[in-house]
């Protein structure tokens, strides 16, 4: 094959750009359909908000759903379970060598030490970024994600562009997040095809020596724990 992939890529991307024109969708976030259109059609689905409201009312009326249980579930993920949990796990691992070893060898138990675990994180694996290895987590088949430590996944993680390309072009995907990985670094992609859930233990950045676990945790981002970001060295004198 004399046609290089890069040539084709360039052509394909410019062609794809040619397809893109203004779209006008009366839709909320989170659809794979918020790309541009070239044919001027409009989708007018029934409003999902009305539809879900009617469905919940029906299920409550039939005694199938307890509305207070729904409230409690929402409250859980809006206020209790989220990426701050994972950040505390990471900060502990950065500051406690023995904890880090337990975390890498038996993640469930180590995460439970901090009080986390459960739904969609029953079976955890923590993978460590180093100077030589960069880890990236995806679920190509649906959107599996470690809820107890990261909360519910962001839309991009659930989207077709991420799910499709993370395994075939991880460096391109990382580039879209502004992260260039040196060619000597091994990129490991973890496809969450089973009931194991993956958390990336990011590299502890330089600087921040002597910082408290809490202050370190504040630096840890959700994206770094998925593997699409690194954690920046704190600016000298920066105080959380």
């Amino acid at each position: 094959m004399t046609t290089s992939r890069r040539d084709l890529l360039t052509t394909a991307l410019s062609a794809a750009a040619g397809v893109a024109v203004t779209s006008n969708h009366p839709r909320a976030h989170g659809t794979d359909h918020d790309h541009a259109h070239d044919h001027g059609h409009q989708d007018v689905p029934s409003d999902p908000a009305l539809r879900v409201k009617a469905l919940e009312s029906l299920l409550v009326a039939k005694g199938l759903v307890d509305r207070a249980a729904v409230d409690a579930l929402i409250d859980t993920y809006e206020h209790k379970v989220g990426p701050r949990n994972g950040a505390r796990v990471v900060a502990r691992a950065w500051t406690d060598r023995a904890y880090k070893q337990r975390l890498l060898s038996d993640a469930d138990a180590a995460i439970a030490e901090l009080g986390y675990g459960g739904l969609q994180g029953e079976h955890m694996v923590v993978v460590e970024n180093t100077a030589n290895v960069h880890n990236l987590v995806v679920c190509t088949l649906c959107s599996c994600y470690p809820w107890p430590v990261l909360g519910l996944p962001p839309v991009w993680y659930k989207s077709a562009p991420y799910r499709s390309r993370a395994v075939i072009d991880p460096r391109g995907v990382l580039g879209e997040f502004g992260l260039e990985i040196d060619e000597n670094v091994e990129v490991r992609v973890w496809d969450s095809t089973a009931e194991l859930r993956y958390l990336v233990l990011p590299e502890r950045p330089g600087g921040g020596d002597g910082w408290s676990e809490e202050k370190l945790a504040a630096m840890v981002t959700r994206n770094a724990m998925i593997g699409v970001a690194k954690i920046a060295t704190p600016v000298h004198g920066d105080r959380a």
């Binding site: 993920y77 694996v125 395994v167 009931e195």
Partner: protein, 219 residues
């Protein structure tokens, strides 16, 4: 099934769009969709694998059009219909059929905290022999079932190395169809990116895929 949900390696899906300061739910209905789906799971008339399969059955044009929680609701409605929890007329009208029984919810608010913190473990404490061991070379089977599977198309027929044995888990290919849990070992299998995608892939990279015993054969 070889469905459009099996997206690993596809091109043409567009750019990744990250949202600044993304909220947990973008609208009230998303949270309600999430909560209602979970609450209905409390009846234990289906399982996680069946739920996933139901979403995979969404027609491609709709799968691509729908947002994540729209797919949840579409799948939930079908599961409720199949299990005679609701009728099509009820879904369309939003009103109970006259004479339909009124039940008492079992998954109540007081059970939420325990449910979330315990979860639904898929690991099983049974004795099943492992067919493979760490560092063994294995080949992902060339299989194309019409039913649910968690073996992505992009690794089928490819050779990799067992990285670790995760233990014994429920097998989705049977469980999704209520044909038993068939617990078996799950392994993390490391595939060299070039073995999966060819010479254009980056030479140092690899993909780790979690694979049930039945998905593998010795290489």
């Amino acid at each position: 099934m070889n469905g459009v949900h099996d997206m690993g390696g596809m091109h043409g899906m567009g750019a990744i769009k990250e949202e600044k300061d993304e909220p947990v739910f973008h609208a009230t209905w998303e949270g309600r969709a999430y909560g209602v789906t979970r609450a209905m799971g409390g009846w234990r008339l289906w399982n996680l694998d069946a739920t996933r399969f139901q979403r995979e059955l969404i027609a491609p044009v709709d799968y691509f059009r729908m947002s994540y929680y729209e797919r949840w609701i579409a799948g939930l409605v079908e599961l409720m219909l199949k299990n005679n929890l609701v009728t099509r007329a009820e879904i369309e009208s939003g009103k109970s059929d006259s004479g339909a029984p009124v039940r008492t919810p079992t998954f109540t608010a007081d059970k939420v905290a325990a449910f979330v913190s315990k979860g639904m473990p898929a690991r099983r404490d049974v004795t099943v022999a492992a067919s493979f061991r760490a560092n063994q070379r294995v080949r992902a089977r060339n299989m194309n079932p019409m039913g649910h599977t968690r073996l992505p198309r992009y690794v089928r027929g490819k050779v990799g190395t067992v990285d670790r044995d995760h233990g014994i888990f429920v097998f989705p290919d049977t469980n999704a169809h209520f044909n038993g849990e068939k617990p078996q070992h799950v392994y993390s299998v490391r595939f060299v990116a070039r073995d999966v995608w060819g010479a254009e892939a980056s030479p140092r990279d690899s993909i780790y895929v979690d694979m049930w015993d039945d998905y593998l054969e010795p290489a």
